[in-house]
Structures are given as C-alpha cells and as structure tokens.
Point group: none
Chain length 231, copies 2
C-alpha cells in the first residue's frame, strides 16, 4: 500500500454517490463528494484529488465544461478523469474523451467494474511517484528502492513509519498536528486515535536510533511534531 489516494466524485444523484462512497471506502480510498460543479471546484481547491469521477449530466454547467476547465488549469491538468455516462450515449463518450477524460463507465455499473476502472486509470496516470533520493542532514530516503540510510547505517522501518518519515522529510522544519498527520498519512476517513500518532513517532525514533538520527523528529508540546536538523 503506497500513498493513500483521494477521489472526488461529482454527481448530483445522491444514491449513486453513496454507493460509490461505500465501494471506494471499503477499498481504501478517500472520497470527497460534490453535487455540482461549483461545489466540485471548491473541493478541488481544498485538496487536489488523485482522480475525478465525473457525471456527464449535471445541473448547471455540464461535465464536459468542467473537464475542459480542469484541463486548462496547470494545477488540475494532470488529474485523470473517469466519466459516468448514461447507457448508449455514444457521442458523450467521444466528446468526453476529446475533452480529456481518461475512461468512462456506463450507468448502471457494478462496484467491481468501478474499482477496476479506477485502479487501471490510477496506475496508468502516475507511473513514477516521485523523484530521486530525499536527503535531510545526512539521512537519506530512497523511494525507488524503498530504503532509508542514516550516515551509513541501514534503517529498518515498517510501511507506516516509512510514509511518516517520507512525509516529514519532504516537509522539513514544519510542525504538523496529530490531526494533520492522520489526514495526510492515514487518510481522511480513517478512524484512528490521535495517540496512535505518538506510538508511530516513537517507533520511528526507535528505528532511527542505531543511526543516531533520532532527535531529528522533535516534539512541539501542545502542537505536534516536526522534523528538524536544528536543535
């Protein structure tokens, strides 16, 4: 399990939203819902989703318009779109794909089909997650080999601690509250005690101990945690 994926669904029919929400939730995705285009843009500006499920028939501005606007904006250009069309609307499909959609599903669809499409599109859209080795104060983390080396000592680390450390190293010198960390590493819809963060911080520090790089993770009392090379 790599990073947690967020999916935005833009769909005015609530039953469908709920069914999708249920299916995706169980499969470990975070779901953000929007009932119309305006709401969708709000949600997008809040947090950029990894994929957009877009109904083609919407009140107000249509799905196609939404897709075009997404493709026009540098920020949202690369977010893949899967569109939901009514049965047999061939023209919709064609115009949708031209507007930049990556795939479509014909209503009614099964959760299984939905999952298959989403997985396939996500896989194709983000082939290389991120770039090379991240280094902070001599601590090196390599996403490609999934390895952490401190000085010249290997750091043995579990998946969650890896994600935690990776997140901290890409945002050094910044404090994050437990809530923020839960959001970004566990995912928005995970119901997990805040204290769990403490435990993982502890485990991360322990894992870093042999290399002497514990202490990089600092506690900011009453606020949260921070990775910092300064004392």
């Amino acid at each position: 399990m790599a990073l947690r994926r967020t999916i935005l669904i833009v769909e005015d029919e609530k039953p469908i939203r709920e069914m999708v929400s249920f299916a995706l939730g169980r499969a470990g995705y975070d779901l953000v819902e929007a009932g119309d285009v305006t709401e969708a843009f709000e949600q997008m500006s809040q947090k950029l989703p990894d994929l957009v499920l877009l109904d083609w028939m919407l009140p107000g501005a249509s799905g196609i318009e939404f897709a075009r606007r997404m493709k026009r904006d540098e920020l949202t250009r690369d977010v893949p779109i899967v569109m939901l069309t009514a049965r047999g609307e061939e023209e919709d499909k064609v115009s949708g794909l031209e507007a930049g959609a990556d795939d479509y599903i014909t209503k009614p669809f099964s959760p299984r089909e939905l999952m298959a499409r989403i997985k396939a599109v996500l896989r194709r859209a983000s082939p290389e997650d991120e770039g090379g080795v991240i280094e902070v104060a001599g601590l090196k983390l390599d996403p490609e080999s999934h390895r952490v080396v401190g000085g010249d000592v290997d750091v043995e680390i579990g998946p969650t601690e890896f994600r935690l450390l990776s997140f901290f190293m890409t945002h050094p010198e910044r404090v994050f509250s437990r809530t923020q960390l839960l959001d970004r590493i566990w995912g928005r819809n995970a119901y997990v005690e805040e204290r769990t963060v403490d435990v993982h911080i502890l485990r991360l520090r322990k894992a870093l101990l042999p290399s002497g790089f514990d202490g990089l993770i600092q506690t900011v009392r009453g606020v949260g945690y921070r990775l910092s090379s300064k004392t």
Copy 2:
C-alpha cells in the same frame, strides 16, 4: 529523449487518425498514416516504423492478416504492434495477441491512455533486445542462450521465472509492486491474481537456492519485491 520515434497508424476512419495524429505529434513522435493494408505495406517499405498502431477492422485484408505478415518477415518481425479494437470484442483481443500484437486499446480511447500504452510498449521493446550478459553480484544471465549461472552452478529455471529474474536484474535495487510486475512481465492483458506473483517469486528463490543466490530477491513488506545485493 534522444531518438525520434516513428509510428505507423493503419486505420480507415479518418477522425481517429486525426485525433491520434494530433496527440502523438504533440508528444514528439513522427506519425505515418495508412488507410488500408496496401498503403501500410508501402509505408513500411519506405521507412520501418518503431511501432505500428493497427486497427483490427479494416477494409480488405484484416488487421490480423497484416500482423501475421509482419511477424513472418525478418525485417518487420520485431516491430511492436498495438491493436485498436472495438469494445467487448474479446475474441479479437485473443486472436490479436496470438498473432503477435503487443498490446491493445479498446475504442473509444483517450489520448492519455494511448500515450501510456505506446510509451510502455516502446520501453519494453527497445532495451530488452540488446543482449549482453547481465550480471549482478556474480549472478549471470544470458538472454541469448536463455541460461542463468550463479557463481559456477547452473540455475534451472522456467520461462516465467526467467523473465522475472531478467526484469529484476535489469532494474536492480528497485522495489516493484505486484501490480507493476504483473504489468511488465505478464503484460496488461492477463487477468492474473496478484498473489500469483508471490508464488513465482517463491519458485525463483527456490531455483536460486542451489547457487546460494536466493536472498537476492527481497520482500519489502506492504510494498512489493526488490532485487538487491545489499542486505
């Protein structure tokens, strides 16, 4: 990107040719168009393309016939083929892959998907065919003779394990998820359980056991597998 790649599209519907042409042009490929099989052969004799996009439903000789002829000729045998099929034509896909196609795309398709497939196929096709002996930490693999030698012990290995090992050895020190491995070794068209990867990893390790080179294949829990000479 050093070399400029030439792609030949064989497709009788002009709108599709134009859409593809537009997409590929922007991505920096040279495109040669052909409306039927005869034209296609003319173009091929003019300049050998790096990849052929082949519609399966063509006037006159069908796509499958074209593919067969390509595979029969020494010159064109190694040019990868991506076929374009209508949705749900399962038999087409099967017969197509049997006839030597490397991948397929179902119409209608998005430019993004098209690009992804083309890139993937080209990547798979070009670096693999140059064949020196690959060696990692004393484990030698010869693509030509299809043999693996560890230290001085012969490694007995089946076709799938050979491909697996070959892939790992050309990408050492990198983690690959089960999904990635399925994509790149089994190909996108196979529906195969993810756990099947585990079984083949096991078989590969067993095959390597006599030479002591098991342990080269490491498990990265929660992520995937990696070949590494480091512990």
